[in-house]
C-alpha cells in the first residue's frame, strides 16, 4: 500500500513514558509514523490511546523518552510549542468548537493568529475546506445550531485550515448518533485518499480495514501489537487483542 522506504518519518516516538501521579499511564511507547501513512490505534477504554496521541502535540506532557515531529524534538518546557502544533491537526471526540464564534470564525482564528494570514486569505481558505466537508452553506451559523456530525466535520475543516502535516483523531465518531457517523468517516476517507498522514484512534473496523496501513493495539499503557489491518482483525497474535476483538464484536 505504501512504500515506506522512500518516505521520511513525520512522527517518531521512542521510549516514551508518562505517569499521572504514581499511576503509569504510558510505558515505553515506540512508534514511527511515516509521511502519508495512516495508523489506526485501538484498545480497551483507559488503555492510554488518547494520552499517547495527546503527547504528540503536548496537550499532555510526557516525562521520559523522545518525541520528534518532522524532525523537531517536542518537549514539555519548549518555548515554540505553537510552531509544532500548527503542523499537527487534532480532532476531538467532543468536537470542541468555539460556541461563541460563527463556523467561519472558528476556522479563520488559527491561521490568522498563528500563521499571521490576512482575514481575506484565511476566509478563502476556510470556505475551501468548508466546501470540502459540505458545510459551506452554514458558515455564518453558530456551532450549537449544527448537528453533531456537521460539527465534527467543521472541526476537521478547522484543523485542516492550519495546513498540518499530520492529523490526529481521537475517537472522532464515538460521540455521534449512528446516522451521523458515515458522513464524518467519508470526509476522513477522502482525506486519507488525498495522502494526508493520519493517526486515528477509533473502533470503526470498516474504516480501519479501508484506509489503515497499520493497526496499533494498546492495553494498559503499552503497545501490545502492531499489524496490518487484515492480519490484525482476522488473526490477532496476543491474547489481549483476541479478547478485545471478541468483546468488540459482541460475542
Amino acid at each position: 500500500m505504501l512504500d515506506t522506504s522512500a518516505a521520511r518519518p513525520l512522527v517518531e516516538i521512542t521510549g516514551m513514558c508518562k505517569w499521572y501521579g504514581e499511576f503509569s499511564a504510558l510505558h515505553d511507547i515506540n512508534l514511527s509514523v511515516m509521511e502519508g501513512e495512516k495508523v489506526v490505534v485501538c484498545g480497551p477504554s483507559g488503555s492510554g490511546k488518547s494520552t499517547m496521541i495527546r503527547c504528540i502535540n503536548q496537550l499532555e506532557a510526557h516525562q521520559k523518552g523522545k518525541i520528534l515531529v518532522d524532525g523537531t524534538e517536542v518537549t514539555p518546557d519548549m518555548k515554540n510549542i505553537e510552531q509544532i502544533r500548527r503542523e499537527v491537526g487534532m480532532v476531538f471526540q467532543s468536537f470542541n468548537l468555539f460556541p461563541h464564534m460563527t463556523i467561519l470564525d472558528n476556522l479563520i482564528l488559527g491561521p490568522m493568529r498563528n500563521r499571521g494570514v490576512s482575514r481575506k486569505e484565511a476566509t478563502d481558505l476556510a470556505m475551501h475546506y468548508l466546501e470540502r466537508v459540505q458545510i459551506a452553506a452554514q458558515a455564518a451559523k453558530y456551532p450549537p445550531q449544527l448537528s453533531g456530525g456537521q460539527q465534527q466535520r467543521v472541526a476537521i475543516a478547522r484543523a485542516l485550515c492550519m495546513k498540518p502535516k499530520v492529523m490526529l483523531f481521537d475517537e472522532p465518531t464515538s460521540a455521534l448518533d449512528p446516522e451521523m457517523i458515515a458522513g464524518v468517516l467519508d470526509v476522513m476517507i477522502e482525506l486519507a485518499e488525498d495522502g494526508m498522514t493520519m493517526v486515528v484512534v477509533t473502533h470503526e473496523m470498516g474504516f480501519a480495514r479501508k484506509v489503515a496501513d497499520r493497526v496499533v493495539f494498546m492495553d494498559e499503557g503499552e503497545i501490545i501489537e502492531v499489524a496490518h489491518p487484515e492480519d490484525f482483525f482476522s488473526n490477532p497474535q496476543s491474547d489481549r487483542a483476541q479478547l478485545f476483538l471478541s468483546q468488540l464484536l459482541g460475542h
Binding site: L59, Q83, R85, M90, F92, N96, H100, G110, R113, R115
Partner: protein, 301 residues
Amino acid sequence: MDRNSPPPAPPRKRLTPLDYLLFGSVAALVVYAGYRVNDVLVYNWDWSRVLGFLVRFDEDTGRWIGNLLLTGLFTTLRLAVWATLLATVIGIVMGYWRTCENLTLRIISRCYVELIRNIPPVVFIFIFFFFISSQIFPAMGLDDIDPDGALVANPVFHFLFGDPRLLSNFLAGLLCLAMFEGAYVTEIVRAGIQSVQKGQWEAARAIGLSRTNVLRDVILPQALRKILPPLAGQFITLIKDSAIVSLISIQELTFLATEVAATTTKVFETWILVGAMYFILCYSFAVLFAWFERRAARSRR
C-alpha cells in the same frame, strides 16, 4: 375530544383570609411604630427642611438646583461605576491568576482574596486608606493638583469625577472600594473561567494559539458572558457597600446625610429619605439588569 379545544384555564390564585391577616398585622406594626415616634418620643415631623437639602430653589438664578443629598447621590453613583470598572480589571487579572499554572501568581491572588474576605470591610478600609492617603497620593502628586487647571476644570471632568477640589477624596474612596470589591469579582471571574470546558482550552491550544490568544479569543469571551449576571449583582452590592467609605470622610451620600441629619436635627426624615434614594437607585439597576438578561436570553434563543 376535540384536539383543537383550548387548554383549561389554570386555577386563579386567591388571597386567603390568612394572607389578609398577615398584611393587616404588618400594617398595624408600621402604624404602631409611627405612633410611638410621634406621641411617645414627641417627635415633630418636618420634611420640608430635609427635602430642601435634596433640591432647593435658587433665588438668584430663579431655578431649582440640586443640593447636598443629590450631590451625594451622584458621587455615590460615580464611585460605584468607577469602582466596578476598576474592580473588574483587578478581578479579571487576579481571577486569571487564580487559575494559572504559575505557583507564584496563584499564591499572590489567593492571598489577596483571603485577606480581604477575612477582614471586616471597615477595618480594611481604615488600614488601606491610611496607606494610600499617606503614601500613594503624595507620590502621585495628587495633593497639589490645581483645581482650576484646564485639564480638570471642565464639564466632562466634572461629570466623570465630580468636583476637582474633592478629587483626591473621591479617588481614595474609589480605590478602597475597588480593592475591596475586586476580591469578590476575582472569585466571580475565577468561577467563570473554570466553568469554560477543558476541551475549549485544548482545542484552542491544538490549533496553535499562544497562551494570551487562548485566553483572549476563546476563554474570556465565554467566561465573561457567564459572569455578566453575577457581575451586575456585584455592582448593586457595591452601591450599597459604598456607604462604608463615609467613615473615611468620602463625600458620598451617606457621609453628606450624616451632615444633613446633624444640621437639621431631623434624623428620621433624613435617613428615611436617604434609604429611599438608595432603594430607588439599586432597585432601578436590578430591574434594568433583569431586563437585559431576559433580552440576552431571548436573542440567544
